[in-house]
Amino acid sequence: MMTQKKALLVAAVLLMAFSFGTIAEGAEFPKAKQIRMVVPYGAGGGVDISTRILATHAQDILGQRIDVVCMPAAGGQEGINFVLQQPRDGYTLLVTDYGPLVTTALTEEVNYDLTDWVPLVQITEVVPTFFVLSESPLKDVADWVKTAKDKPESLTVAHGRHLSVPHLPLILFEKTAGLKNTHVPTTGGSEALAFVLGKKVDVGASVPSTIASTVKAGTVRPLAVCSLERVATLPETPTMKELGYDVVLPAWYTVFAPKGVPEETLRVLEEKFIEALNSDGAKEMAAKSNVLLTPYGRDKTAGLYEGTISSLKTILSDVTK
């Protein structure tokens, strides 16, 4: 009798265990497994750091572990394709700026369509900034425009890689102001800064965090930023828009889900990510890392995504001509 009871008990326990198993299987998002946020850049870069700020704080709020996975191979395309190959269940997300996702898609053949992505939450925004050495004869953008118009292509401008985040606003600015400079591509903002400091080029294009400390020391003078409003870290620097040039091209770092993720999952992710980015912990960590959080939800982010695609199309159509 006893043994029968025991057997029943065991069976019941097993059944319960299995049923928990099934609950876990079809569990409400995000109970099933850990979430992966794929970054198409190497560890330690701007996108990676921003992603880690979000991941660290979102995992407590979501109640699920979040792994940040850096996949920089093939110029980031490997990471992007990896996200597309995973099940569309919201457990694999992409965090990127527009470079590998949009610019590459508009200039080369890629395995996806720009409409295959749902922009979820914007983490932060970086603003392309033009700068010169303090002792440069170019005091402001007006000087730059005048010199470049008097002698086209006489000024050299070092930016990051070809068609990178600081390079596209330069092209847009030249188009808007009707001038021409000699472009010198570099491997990134630090090389551009080194060239400006070493008097190898006249103007540099990068982002505020690259030049912040040299600006503070008074060795470098920022000329203008390419955002709608002034940048908090460079309050003295005018925007191109203020100066009368419609050059607004900030780069967002945004979380994307591939198309096909259930609506309910997207809603949970958006809500929890925004909550995480608004938490005190995230704000503190962001302030330490020089990241200005701009937690925008799906509606606003989608608009920015569309806007970027259309401005990039215009700029690139001129370049590739």
């Binding site: 870069g45 191979a73 068609l163 591509p185 090389e191 912040a212 400390s213 960590m285």
Partner: protein, 508 residues
């Protein structure tokens, strides 16, 4: 002032700080010794952790990893002829022959002592003359960099041990592999044959680990397995017996040996500090240039490539000297000189310290604390590595049938982990096959790696220079620094010409 000093010392010698630094060094030596895993990777992985500990502890640990990995790479280079890190590739040239010649301990200790010496010299330079050195480094624009790279390619002629033409062919293969992928200026895609994974170019770590490690492992494994090459097995058995007979009394390290390699160590330290302070040149280049220069300036250049300890000391001092030096441009201008310095910069930023000219002024206590840590970390590295060497030296005597698959698995894993890319694993295997072919036909591998490292940098510098000079080639000669590099090139060409001629006359 006294208060400040007390505060700095208290910060630097707090127990947790010392512990974190020691753990960092241990981790560094270990990842450095495993082919495919590099210090950069460990630093990148541990970066998020630095949010959670004090700045001194976090930075101490990261610096420890870098220092440890610079020496760690030489452990596998000497023990198995497989460089643990890209920076240790040059150490293989003489380290492995030295081990085969029955002096593994001398080779390792020489590597350690010169590593520590190089590291210490460049760290002291960082602490005391960072700003003027960084100012000098800023004079290096594209024109000067191109001249430096031309000089580096000339160095290949100094590296080649066997036939010169084979060395040049190997360098050409390296240059060619470097052109695959996006071009450094306009982003056009070259030689990818439509394979989208190739658009980012051939990655350095898989290529290097493949050419050096996988090929060596496959050859060793082939010897082990092949029944046809019984003669070889017998040879190997004889060699193994030799190693079991290994006589520790003949392999003692002494101060005399250290002094005998001191000149090479100094050459390496100088070269490493110089290359390290230049943004973007890197520790592998520093190691090769140190090796080449030490060989040229040695009294017994013919010993190089056959296991001379000078050939171990120079590249090891060279790569370790980049540790402190690569922080010079970061600290002075906020310009990271290497991938590691960029990660280190990220860690500083996370701690609320902005690298740049104002950094020291704004963060006196923490920066000086960091300086103290960087200096004493050198000594922790010395003692820890000294203690670990007997352990690691034993690894070299494990039977190939156990060791080869283990190292192979680690190399595969490390390569995959560095970028989470399966494509990199295929590159590793393909590079392994290339490596076997080159080894079997006695092509030197060093020039290949040097060509691969220098090629893209040289192309970028040349094209930048031509853009700045509005397409005028004479612009390349408008810099005294560049001119002196070209003069050095011509001088070495003449030297080689005459030494070859002399040799031919002697042979006649």
């Amino acid at each position: 002032m006294d208060g400040l000093i007390m505060q700095i010392l208290e910060g630097a010698f707090a127990l947790p700080v010392i512990l974190y630094t020691t753990v960092g060094i241990f981790l560094g030596i270990t990842v450095g010794a495993i082919p495919g895993l590099s210090g950069d990777m460990a630093i990148a992985l541990l970066l998020p952790l630095t949010y959670k500990v004090s700045p001194a502890a976090a930075l101490g640990m990261l610096m420890g990893i870098y220092k440890g990995s610079m020496f760690g790479g030489s452990i596998s280079a000497i023990s198995f002829g497989v460089p643990g890190t890209p920076a240790a590739a040059a150490t293989v040239e003489d380290g492995y022959p030295a081990k085969l010649g029955g002096h593994p301990k001398q080779a390792m200790l020489t590597a350690l002592y010169s590593s520590v010496t190089g590291d210490l010299i460049s760290t002291l330079l960082l602490v005391f003359v960072a700003v003027p050195m960084a100012k000098a480094a800023l004079h290096f624009g594209p024109v000067e960099f191109f001249a430096l790279y031309v000089f580096a390619l000339m160095m290949i002629s100094l590296l080649v041990v066997g036939e010169m033409k084979k060395g040049i062919a190997a360098a050409a293969i390296g240059l060619f592999i470097g052109t695959i992928g996006m071009d450094p200026m306009m982003g056009s895609i070259r030689l990818t044959f439509g394979i989208s994974s190739l658009r980012g170019g051939i990655p350095l770590i898989p290529l290097l680990v493949g050419v050096f490690a996988v090929s060596e492992l496959m050859i060793q494994f082939g010897k082990e397995c092949s029944a046809r090459s019984e003669k070889r097995v017998a040879e190997d058995a004889a060699k193994a017996a030799e190693l079991t007979d290994y006589d520790p009394t003949k392999d003692r390290m002494s101060l005399k040996i250290y002094w005998s390699t001191f000149k090479a160590t100094l050459i390496g330290s100088g070269m490493g500090t110089f290359i390290g302070a230049l943004p973007g040149a890197g520790s592998s280049l520093a190691a090769y240039m140190s090796y080449g220069l030490a060989r040229k300036m040695s009294r017994r250049p013919e010993e190089f490539g056959k296991g001379t300890l000078e050939g171990v000391a120079a590249p090891e001092a060279g790569n370790s000297a980049t540790a402190g030096a690569s922080l010079i441009p970061l600290f002075a201008f906020g310009i990271p000189g290497s991938a590691t310095a960029a990660l280190f910069g990220a860690a500083l930023i996370m701690q609320g310290i902005n690298p740049g000219p104002m950094m020291i002024e704004e963060n006196k206590v923490i920066i000086y604390t960091l300086f103290v840590i960087i200096i004493y970390a050198t000594f922790i590295n010395l003692f820890l590595s000294y203690g670990l060497i007997p352990l690691y030296a034993k690894l070299a005597r494990i039977k190939a049938c156990y060791l080869v698959p283990t190292v192979f698995a680690l190399a595969l894993l490390g390569t995959f982990a560095s970028r989470n890319s399966l494509f990199d694993v295929w590159v590793l295997l393909a590079a392994g096959v290339l490596g076997i072919y080159l080894r079997k036909n006695e092509f030197p591998l060093g020039p290949l790696v040097l060509g691969f490292i220098v090629g893209p940098g040289a192309e970028k510098a040349l094209r930048q220079a031509l853009l700045m000079g509005r397409g005028e080639w004479t612009f390349l000669l408008k810099s005294p620094i560049a001119l002196s590099f070209y003069a050095l090139c011509i001088l070495s060409l003449l030297l080689i010409h005459f030494s070859v001629k002399k040799k031919l006359v002697e042979e006649d």
